[in-house]
Amino acid sequence: MKESVIRKHAKALFEIAKEGRVTDDLFRGLKELEKILDEEIMEFLSSPAVQFEDKVSFLKNLQERLGLHPFITNTLLILIEKNKGRYIPALLSYYTHLYMEEKGYVVVEVKTARELSDLEEEILKKRIAEWAGRDVFLKKEVQPELIGGIIIKIGDLLIDNSVLKKIKRFAESFKGERAS
């Protein structure tokens, strides 16, 4: 399944939530879900070896325990039924994105090789908030393969100042010189 399809699922979920005026409930529920989604649970939900009925009963159990809205469990069941359980984290991420935009935040995706310090996070938020004129919601992701540096994505604007990018650019320019 392509990322755009997951975006469509997230958007559909958000639209339904908006109509039902339960976007906040869903956001809270999804945050709770995000906390407990570890590798083992993801493996269980995405494995084709596990019976669909077992996954359904697991989700029902989770719904009761975490107080998840039925919209969430229904959407998750659709993904699981299509054997796309592994895309659940992406769905949560997109919903958060849409929710934060709806709340007036500018959503900024930040990827770094290591965790950002509190000070760095603060500086980043402040600078972007000044630039965008809105509060900032940071979607942080740690990717050690970046080696160092930072990638910032604000809507269509992409700032890639990672070490990996610099090395790749250097390697490509060297190949280009050799070819010419």
């Binding site: 160092g148 540096g149 070490v163 090395i167 790749k168």
Partner: protein, 162 residues
């Protein structure tokens, strides 16, 4: 006497009878005999003329065949000459064709070798480049300090213009 007279008269009578017979034959058969002899003479003349004509015909045929034979010899010579020329022409054409094919094959082989060489060099360069990138990554990972990280962070922030 009687005995001598008897034999002599008998011979005489026989001779007279013979002469009479000959005279009768000449008298009555002369015309036919002459005609027969003439006819025979004509036949012989005819046969002779016929044989002469046949001989002339044979002589003529002989000359004709001899001429033809000479013509055949010339034709055979020409055929031999033409055949040799054709064979030489074909051999030359084949030699040219083989030379051209060989040249084309040699050229395509050169191109193939060149392409393979360039591919091998390119592949080797790619491998070396990948190795260099991996080494660079490890070195940078080890050497990357707080100061560099801050510089990357500040650079990224500077891209967000007010």
């Amino acid at each position: 006497m009687e005995e001598g007279f008897g034999f002599g008269s008998h011979l005489l009578f026989t001779a007279i009878n013979f002469l009479i017979l000959v005279g009768a034959i000449i008298l009555f058969g002369r015309k036919k005999i002459i005609e027969g002899i003439k006819r025979r003479g004509r036949d012989i003349n005819n046969e002779f003329s016929s044989l002469k004509a046949e001989r002339e015909e044979i002589e003529r045929l002989k000359i004709e065949y001899l001429e033809k034979l000479k013509g055949l010899d010339r034709e055979i010579e020409n055929m031999k000459k033409n055949a040799i020329e054709e064979i030489e022409k074909s051999a030359e054409a084949m030699r040219r064709k083989i030379m051209e094919s060989s040249k084309r094959f040699e050229e395509s082989l050169d191109r193939l070798i060149k392409a393979e060489y360039e591919r091998a060099v390119s592949s080797f360069e790619e491998e070396v480049m990948d190795m260099a990138v991996e080494i660079a990554k490890r070195i940078i990972m080890e050497k990357l300090g707080e100061a560099q990280e801050k510089r990357f962070f500040d650079e990224a922030l500077s891209c967000i213009k007010k």
